[in-house]
């Protein structure tokens, strides 16, 4: 029983990492119905920027704040320059462009900062906390709280502000929105900027745990895909719930199902993606809708 509780808590801690990355994927999907395969590498690049600023003497929280601005502006510029020309093209085309970004960003980070592991300052203390027999750290709590906070901020932005309304409208009804005077194309760029900020925050949370290096997100991104699909690729709530439950499921499978153990986690993620997409493409939290043809 104690082990079960401990595994669930460990799974939640790991799952919160998947959740924060999945949230960024969902934001892009909501704004333009594509999956940004470079999302993880953009987060990694932002984290390197924060690290560099910190190394150059900026206090860590100031570095975070400045990086968030850079991540936002950078992603908006990226959308304008690289994604704009293929806007409205076949999904395959955009997939290939984001794969190109993925590859290029990974190389750029390696070129500038090299591949040696770097320790990244944790924004939260790693002090252990015990509740009964279950142990975890303040850092774990911090990551979960930040994911939930980001989710709340996204909710408020989308539901309670005019900008959010415009963002939603231009994703769902681009033509009508255009007629209503919304600059749809800029809304897409804003969507990229927001997703990049969420990704950067996720990078700040992840880097102290997995250490900073150009490939740091590659182990995580496939799980983030699975989390986003599981929760429903259009649902921010789904992304967080999907991430946390994926973390718990993987931990429990590792501890109690010998056949799967800890070495078949990626195939499990693959299976989840395929099964969810075949059986319930909208995921746990998305609304089922008619197939567009």
């Amino acid at each position: 029983m104690q082990e079960l509780a401990q595994q669930v808590v460990s799974g939640l801690a790991t799952g919160s990492i998947f959740a924060s990355m999945a949230l960024a994927l969902v934001l892009i999907y909501r704004s333009m119905n594509v999956i940004n395969f470079a999302q993880g590498e953009m987060a990694m690049l932002s984290t390197f920027v924060a690290w560099e600023l910190n190394q150059r003497g900026l206090p860590i929280w100031a570095a975070f704040a400045l990086t968030i601005v850079i991540a936002f502006v950078g992603a908006v510029a990226l959308e304008r320059i690289v994604i704009r020309p293929v806007e409205g093209a076949a999904p395959l085309t955009i997939v290939i462009v984001t794969l190109g970004l993925f590859t290029a960003f990974n190389g750029i980070a390696g070129w500038i900062w090299g591949y040696v592991l770097k320790t990244f300052p944790s924004p939260f203390p790693t002090t252990p906390v015990r509740v009964g027999d279950v142990a975890f750290s303040l850092q774990d709590i911090g990551i979960i709280v930040v994911s939930l906070g980001t989710l709340l901020a996204i909710y408020l932005l989308f539901q309670k502000t005019k900008l959010g309304l415009a963002l939603r409208a231009s994703a769902l009804y681009p033509e009508q929105s255009r007629l209503a005077g919304i600059r749809v194309s800029w809304m897409l760029a804003l969507g990229w900027g927001l997703a990049s900020v969420v990704g950067a925050i996720s990078g700040f949370m992840v880097a102290p745990v997995v250490f900073l290096e150009p490939n740091m997100m590659q182990g995580i991104i496939v799980y983030a895909f699975a989390a986003a699909v599981l929760g429903g690729i259009e649902s921010p709530v789904g992304a967080v719930v999907g991430g946390l439950s994926l973390g718990v499921v993987l931990a429990l499978l590792g501890a109690y199902v010998d056949f799967i153990g800890t070495d078949l986690r990626l195939p499990v993620a693959f299976a989840i993606i395929v099964i969810v997409l075949m059986v319930r493409p909208a995921g746990l939290f998305g609304r089922q809708k008619a197939v567009r043809v």
Partner: protein, 410 residues
């Protein structure tokens, strides 16, 4: 382009190539491949890109040491040119690069290629061509063990199994009733360590009550450590690379797992121990046992050590910007030292046979990068250059040596 024009171009190309073939007279080969009066050209591959690229510091360290040797006049008046290429830890790519090095760049030998899979692919080719495959950067036992089949290949570092045997000896001698849990990386390296531990415990292998593996693609090892703790074990073996070893040390501390910890030498640098102490508190690292064979650049014990002074001097001059605390640089220099030693032993009239003979007749008491007392030595019957290691225990700030040097087998 019209088809006719294309055809004409293609046929011209064929003719040109054919003419080239006739004119290319095979080069006279009384000279030794890769060796001139002023130069020795050698080759190698390391993962400078891709998932294993943290190891690239090994190649850079070796390169820096050769530059240092060259600036001091080289070996018998010859400068060493080390063509070290990026194989991205991909065996087929490594094989192509090495064929190019052997056949086009005419290298004298292949030195310190990294990775068990990579060297497994290179070995049959290099042995068929009778090109020395010297001091490969992997700790599998096969490099020392299978000399009868592959006489042109030799390793350098202590093999992983041997290191585990030392731990097993220590456990059997001092903690005969231990209940052991093992975390290992699910690849050849982690499995070799596990195998060594099982073999070393022999009849008492059932002391291992639980094992858990991780993949290098895993984000963390929290869940694995939690289930290892739940097994009720009181001794925790960590066979993991630095990133995951740090996570494992921290996770064990956060779970308040009161356990004795053994940590593989791959991850016992001060960088790891400091990171784990910062994140998990002193409890994460105090009392951890490991073995060492290389000097740790951050260890205060070696503050006045001439070997480390040399290391730091080479780093400052030839690898500006390189992290001095990254022990992989030191590893590369250590292996390069042994290579230079073998070249010197092979004498002025260098041949591949002679350098191979030198490599299996090493007796190196002065390698400045290994800990005092370790002798890098080989004989035709013993192709494991480094086999002495020193048990050490971490007291929260530094490694304290336990007992004397140990030799695992033979």
């Amino acid at each position: 382009m019209s088809i006719r024009r294309f055809t004409i171009i293609a046929l011209t190309a064929i003719l040109a190539l054919a003419a080239g073939a006739v004119l290319t007279v095979p080069a006279a080969s009384q000279a030794v491949t890769g060796v001139t009066a002023t130069e020795i050209v050698i080759g190698g591959t390391h993962p400078y890109s891709g998932p294993a690229s943290a190891y690239s510091s090994i190649g850079k360290g070796a390169q820096a040491y050769f530059a240092y040797v060259n600036d001091k006049g080289g070996v018998a008046g010859r400068k060493i040119t080390y063509k070290d290429l990026d194989d991205a830890y991909n065996p087929p790519q490594s094989l192509q690069l090495v064929k190019q090095l052997v056949e086009q760049d005419k290298v004298f030998a292949i030195f310190n290629s990294l990775g068990t899979p990579v060297n497994t692919v290179l070995r049959p080719y290099l042995n068929e061509k009778q090109v020395p495959q010297l001091f490969v950067a992997t700790g599998a036992t096969t490099w020392g063990r299978d000399a009868s089949k592959f006489p042109w290949t030799i390793g350098w570092q202590p093999d992983y199994e041997a290191e585990s045997l030392i731990y097993a000896k220590n456990v059997l001698a001092h903690e005969p009733s231990a209940k052991i849990a093992v975390l290992y990386q699910n690849d050849d390296y982690g499995q070799d360590y596990l195998k060594g531990l099982q073999n070393g415990l022999g009849a008492k292998a059932s002391m291992i009550v639980k094992t858990a593996s991780y993949e290098t693609t895993d984000p963390d090892v929290k869940a694995q450590v939690a289930s290892l703790k739940a097994s009720g074990a009181d001794t925790f073996f960590i066979f993991a690379t630095p990133k995951f070893a740090t996570q494992a040390l921290v996770a064990a501390a956060q779970l308040s797992w009161k356990t004795k910890v053994y940590l593989n030498s791959v991850s016992n640098s001060q960088v790891v121990m400091k990171a784990a102490t910062t994140q998990g508190g002193p409890a994460a690292t105090t009392g951890v046992v490991s073995v060492i064979y290389l000097k740790d650049p951050t260890d205060p014990r070696y503050a006045n050590d001439s070997g480390l002074a040399l290391y730091k001097q080479i780093m400052a001059k030839y690898v500006p910007g390189g992290d001095v605390n990254d022990q992989f640089y030191l590893y590369g220099m250590g292996a390069a030292f042994t290579f230079v030693d073998a070249l010197q032993k092979a004498g002025k009239d260098l041949t591949r046979e002679k350098v191979m003979q030198a490599a299996i007749h090493l007796h190196e008491t002065d390698n400045p990068f290994v800990i005092p007392g370790v002798i890098v030595q080989t004989s035709p019957d013993d192709r494991f250059p480094i086999r002495q290691e020193q048990l050490a225990q971490y007291d929260g700030t530094r490694w304290g040596l336990i007992g004397s040097l140990m030799t695992a087998r033979r």
